[in-house]
Each structure stands twice: as C-alpha cells, then as structure tokens.
C-alpha cells in the first residue's frame, strides 16, 4: 500500500495512542492537516496561538502522564511553540512537538517561513530531529515518543520538511520496539545505595523527606505515603511536587523555599538528614546555597545522574526511578516513632501552614483561593499562571492528589495556565479544571477564550485582579523603595508616579467580564468579600467555560518570603 509521509505521521501517532493534538495549520503542514481531515481516532484542537498549543499539550501531559502532542507550521509557527517547549523542558514534561519545515531543497536559503528550528530548539528539548527522508520517519517518530516518555521525561521536537510529508513510499512498517545504544536510562536504583539510604534513615535524629516532581512523574505516591507513615518523617514537597503527598496529611509541612512554609524551611535548616526524592534543589527552594541545610546529610534519589550534586553536595546518591527505588527502600527501612523532632516540626507548622489577615471591606486574594478549595472540595485540577496568584494557590489550596496542580515551576511562564487548563480539561472532561490567574498573566494567552468557547471546553477561569504585575511590584515595594516602574496595569491610577496625570486611567482595561461575554463565555465579577462565595458557586455551576473576576487588595504581598540570596531561616513575614 502506498502511503505519504503525512499519512505515516498520523498512523504513527495513532499507534502511539495519541488521542488529541493541539495545534495550528500553515503552509508546509497542509499535507498533514489534509490527512487529519479524515482521521476519526485523533481529535484536533485548534488553538488561537501556537504557544497555547504547546502549553495545552503540556497541560494534557501533566494531568494524564501521557505524552502531549502539538503541531505547528514552519518559521513563525515553530518559533511560537518555543516558550511552551522550554516550559515543558524545565519541568520535565513528556511532549512531542511536530513542526513543518520548508522543503529539503530549500533548507538554509532563507525561504519563506523558514527558521532553523532544530537549531533554535536544541537547548530547550531533550532531543530533536530533522527528518531528511520519508524512510527515516517511522523510526524517528518511534524514538521521539520513547525519548519523551522514558528516563527523565522531556519535550522532543520532530521537524518535517514538506517534501517528506508529500513523499510516497510502499515500504512502511511502524517499529514495535526501539533500542538505542546511546540512550539507556537507568531506572533501577543501585541496591547498595538503597541500603546506605536505609542505614542513614535509621541513624538520623532529625530527618525530613523532600519530594519533588519526580514523584509525580514516576507515580510513586503510594510508596512515598508508605515510607512517610512507616517512619513518621515530616514531608515537604517542592512546588512541582505539590499533590504527590496529601496536602491535608498530618506529616505534611508545606513547600520550602522563597514563599514556602515556615515549618518546611526551619525543618530543612535544622534537620540532620534530607531524603530528597525526585527534586532538583532549584534556587527558589534552596535560598543561599552555602547555608542550605547546614547540619544535614543528603540522600538524593533522581532518575537523572546530572541532577546529583548539581547545586547541593549529595552524600548518598541513588540514581533511578523514584517508585522503583522507594519499593526497594520500603522493604528494608526501619520503622520510627514520632519523637521530639516531630513535635518541634509540628509546633512550627501550627494549626495552619499559612495565614493572612482577612478583611470584610476588600477581597483578599488568599481568601479567594481558600474559597475555591472549599467550593471544589479539593477535587479540582488547578492550573496557574505565574506570579503572586501562583504562590497563593500553592500556599492555600491543599493538593491531596497527584497531577492536580499544573504550574510552570522552572521557567515561570506567564500565560501558561489558561492553555494548560484547556489541555487538562480535554483529557479529563469529568473533573472540574480551574485556571487561577492574575490580571497580568491571563492577558498573555487571553485569545484562547475563543478555543474554550467554540469547543465548549469547561475550563473555569478565576482572575485575581489587583491591577498590578503583583510579584514584580512586591519586589519593587520591598527592595526598590516602592518605585513601581511599569508594573501598574491601570496606566498609573494606583501608583504615586502617575496619579493625577493624563496617563492615569480610571477604568481598568480590558473589562474582563465584557470581554468573556464577547466570546460567548459566562462571566461574573466580585468586588466585595461577601460576593466571593456566590460568584464562585455561580461560575463553577456553569456547564461550559466561565470566567470569574475578583477585584482584590491591590498591594497584598506574598508572605512568608525569604529574599533572594538569603538562607531559608531568614524569613520576612508581612
């Protein structure tokens, strides 16, 4: 049977179990879209910007654990994917990005819509391929899915010139298996290292478990819970790890780091052993590295040997898959009773991990996040953008289940949340999916309201509108003498510099409620604290997408805060 390159691509995607592609058409991918026109097994979601397609594929992958797939044309289509690919790369998200490319005969000639996409994407992909002939296509696609989903997961880009898509072959079979001499990730932890870890745990007087995104990726939640409960060791999780250990569990002490819980930061600084599982000691976690956990020995379990001792010197490295390592560790680790150390840590934790001063006059953003938690019973998938609202979400929504927080932890990509929520909602039509956003971030991919509306994707958007780029404003307030340079989104009404000048706008633009309505999306606004709950109830009850705007205290800050470059126990508290 004769098949074109485009037909082979779609057949390969089917064989890889792909159910949905997010993307945008263009000149050199027309042959691929022509095949999609007749493909029933795969849904295609047309986003309104390629960046959103990449984030949606990423959100789909985070919510399901499957490989997310996005598709864009050459040149600008491909470059628009890059922020989304880099976001997935820094958070180790399995993704395959398919890009069209100009014809092989035109490569390197500055042809129309040509960009060196493998060159541009090289440092932000786990691997990438330029397909030079139709004969290479099946093996490359098999390898792309294999590389994206195994070892430390990550995005893989496949760049397909249009003549390869159009080429015809009679000799096609999709490989059943793949074996690469240069890529053999080690998943079984070395048993001697696991024994050393168990010995260190038995010896420790003040141990802490630090779990990260790797626990989510490897599906090691039950093993982690078992380890923690058997040994009574307090658990902190990184932002990427939230949900891999129940947020309501008595042993949970919040996330550590810049906006982490006091309990987590103090525990890390005072402990004598950190059992790190699938976390990479990001600078937002460690604070001043030289004074990070000064008393502690460190066990570091990670699938990626390059993550070991990258930031923090590790005493007992265990390279492998977190779940497989924990299964072995749980067989030999000794039980441990809660003792004075637990008491001390729980005293730091107090009744609640985080607190703020509520108000009856003005809506506090933290109160909205708490209300979202109450109204959803903690059973939603929550996406966030990046900034203050992201930190409040991490602090005040208690994530009990894995894969329920979609957030750009590594790259910190504003505009991530709405499309990521879209991807998660397409994957999980039964589960409520909410994007908690700031008024700045939401505008970075606001065009996706059209995608939500036309496909009736039931994402609920909660905008915490403080009229500022709040996180940068907070730094300007604390470290730059309140010089709010380019962070007021009202063009100045609220900042000292512009008050009373022409630049100062009374009216916030856009009117988010009116904007949503122009997309045929139900929209609600709360301006007073007593409206929070009713607006949320109304918005969440909508069958399709809905937008809820909350006008919040403009200069509310995220606390606690460990200023950049300070040790974790130097905490600012409001």
């Amino acid at each position: 049977m004769k098949l074109t390159g485009a037909q082979i691509l779609i057949d390969a995607l089917k064989k890889e179990g792909v159910k949905v592609i997010f993307g945008y058409p263009g000149g050199v991918v027309i042959p691929i879209f022509d095949v999609l026109y007749d493909t029933k097994e795969i849904d295609f979601v047309l986003t309104r910007h390629e960046q959103a397609a990449a984030h949606a594929a990423d959100g789909y992958a985070r919510a399901t654990g499957k490989v997310g797939v996005c598709l864009a044309t050459s040149g600008p289509g491909a470059t628009n994917l890059m922020t989304g690919i880099a976001t997935a790369y820094l958070d180790s998200i399995p993704m395959v990005a398919i890009t069209g490319q100009v014809s092989t005969s035109l490569l390197g000639t500055d042809a129309f819509q040509e960009a060196d996409v493998v060159g541009i994407s090289r440092p932000i992909t786990k691997h990438n391929f330029l397909v030079k002939s139709i004969d290479e296509l099946p093996l490359i696609l098999k390898q792309a899915f294999h590389i994206a989903s195994t070892g430390r997961p990550g995005p893989v880009l496949v760049d397909i010139p249009v003549d390869v898509s159009r080429a015809v072959t009679e000799d096609y079979s999709y490989p059943e298996t793949v074996s690469m001499r240069s890529y053999k990730p080690n998943t079984n932890g070395h048993i001697r290292q696991i024994q050393r870890a168990a010995e260190a745990i038995a010896k420790a007087k003040k141990p802490v478990i630090f779990a990260g995104g790797g626990v989510n990726h490897s599906g090691a939640y039950e093993e982690l819970l078992k380890l923690a409960e058997y040994t009574n060791i307090p658990v902190t999780t990184s932002l990427m790890g939230l949900g891999c250990f129940p947020g309501t569990h008595p042993l949970f002490i919040g996330m550590p780091g810049m906006h982490g819980a006091k309990a987590a930061n103090y525990a890390i600084q005072e402990c004598d052993l950190i059992i790190s599982i699938g976390a990479r000691f990001d600078d937002r976690v460690t604070g001043y590295v030289a004074e990070f956990a000064p008393e502690a020995d460190i066990i570091h379990m990670d699938i990626d040997p390059a993550a070991i001792s990258k930031i923090i010197k590790v005493d007992i490295p265990v390279v492998g898959d977190a779940r497989k390592i924990l299964v072995e560790l749980n067989k030999i680790v000794l039980p441990r009773n809660a003792d004075q150390w637990n008491e001390k840590v729980m005293k730091w934790k107090g009744v609640k991990l985080f607190s703020y001063t509520d108000s009856s006059e003005i809506i506090k953003p933290q109160a909205v996040v708490e209300a979202v938690y109450r109204e959803t019973g903690g059973n939603a998938i929550i996406a966030t953008e990046v900034g203050q609202h992201q930190m409040w979400t991490a602090q005040y929504y208690l994530f009990d289940k894995p894969r329920t927080l979609l957030t750009s932890g590594g790259l910190g990509t504003m505009g991530y949340g709405l499309p990521a929520a879209m991807g998660a909602a397409v994957a999980n039509p039964q589960v409520p999916v909410i994007d908690i956003a700031g008024d700045g971030s939401i505008q970075m991919n606001i065009q996706e309201l059209a995608t939500l509306s036309l496909n009736n994707i039931p994402v609920k958007i909660v905008i915490l509108n403080n009229s500022y780029l709040g996180m940068v404003r907070q730094w300007q307030e604390l470290f730059h003498n309140k010089r709010y340079s380019s962070t007021c989104l009202r063009g100045g009404t609220l900042c000292n510099k512009c008050v009373g000048t022409q630049k100062c706008q009374k009216q916030y633009v856009p009117d988010f409620v009116a904007l949503a309505k122009s997309y045929n999306i139900a929209a609600f606004r709360a301006e007073k604290p007593d409206q929070i709950s009713s607006v949320l109830k109304e918005g969440l009850a909508v069958k399709g997408p809905a937008l809820m705007e909350f006008i919040v205290a403009p200069e509310e800050n995220v606390f606690p805060m460990v200023p950049a470059g300070k040790p974790l126990d130097e905490i600012l508290e409001g």
Partner: protein
C-alpha cells in the same frame, strides 16, 4: 581551574557537534581545541575536546554530555595515563641566509620540512601540546607567517 582532555563517542549525525559545543557555550566556556572524525565504525564519531575551567562546572558539563541522546560514551582522561598528540603546520619567514639554521632547529624538535619557498619555510610537527608550544616559542623570533594546529587527539594507555 584545570585543563581536561576528554573523548566523546557520538552518533555520527548532523546535530551531534552543535549539541555538544552548545553545552560549553551556554555556560560561557570556551573549548581550547576540538577534533572530530569517524571511528572504525562509520556510524560513530570520536571527538577529543580540550577545555579549561572550574572543576565543579566541568564535572557538571561532563554529566550533561552523558545525558545527550547522541552521546554513546564520555571518557575524561583526568588522572589517567594517556597518549596525547597534536599536529602543527607552521610557515615562517625565511631566506637562503637562515634556512639552514632553521632546519637545524626543527630537527631538534623532530619537525619536518613540509615545503620551502624563496621567502618562507613550512614545518610540520607532531607531538604533545607542550612540546609544540615550546617549538613555536623557539621559532617565533624568526617571524611566523601562518600557523595551523590540529587540536589534540588522545587515547588512554590502559589495556581496555
């Protein structure tokens, strides 16, 4: 800081070189020399990279090298007996009056005359990086017109 000579076995395909050099350039590290050619297996290339930098960062780069999908094996020759060779072609100002003297100087270093022209002489020489440096320093006063160094290649002395 320390000079490392490393050998990298990679899949012989178009992206491999830039993937590897990118790991150095993204950290602002300059590669002192890099050579690459096919091995006995035409699908595998061998690169020899000489780089100077902080130990902790180099260690990190070596781990990242191992992580690249195209990389089959990384060998760091640090602290290991190794045979290192580099080749140099160097063209020097020369005329009939000092030609003899220069050939003599070359002989001391084991440099061969590759070509002679009325106003220049070109030597070819193979040796370790430091012997080549010594030779170049000796002939510098005569006036170097042009110099081409191949970069170091290296092979471990162990029986493996």
């Amino acid at each position: 800081m320390g000079i490392h000579t490393i050998s990298v076995l990679v899949e012989n395909n178009s992206g491999a070189l830039s993937r590897i050099s990118g790991l150095f350039s993204s950290r602002g590290y300059n590669i002192s020399s890099l050579t690459v050619a096919e091995t006995d297996d035409p699908t595998v290339s061998r690169m020899t990279i000489v780089v100077d930098g902080e130990e902790t960062i180099l260690e990190q780069i070596f781990k990242q090298l191992n992580r690249l999908i195209d990389v089959i094996k990384v060998i760091d020759f640090q602290g290991e007996p190794v045979v290192e060779r580099e080749m140099v072609l160097v063209k020097i100002d020369s005329n009939h009056s000092n030609r003899h003297e220069m050939v003599g100087l070359g002989t001391i270093f084991g440099a061969k005359v590759a070509s002679v022209a009325p106003s220049s002489i070109t030597f070819e020489m193979m040796g370790t990086r430091s012997i080549i440096n010594d030779f170049i320093n000796m002939i510098k006063p005569y006036g170097i017109k042009e110099i081409v160094r191949s970069g170091t290649i290296a092979i471990g002395q162990s029986r493996k």
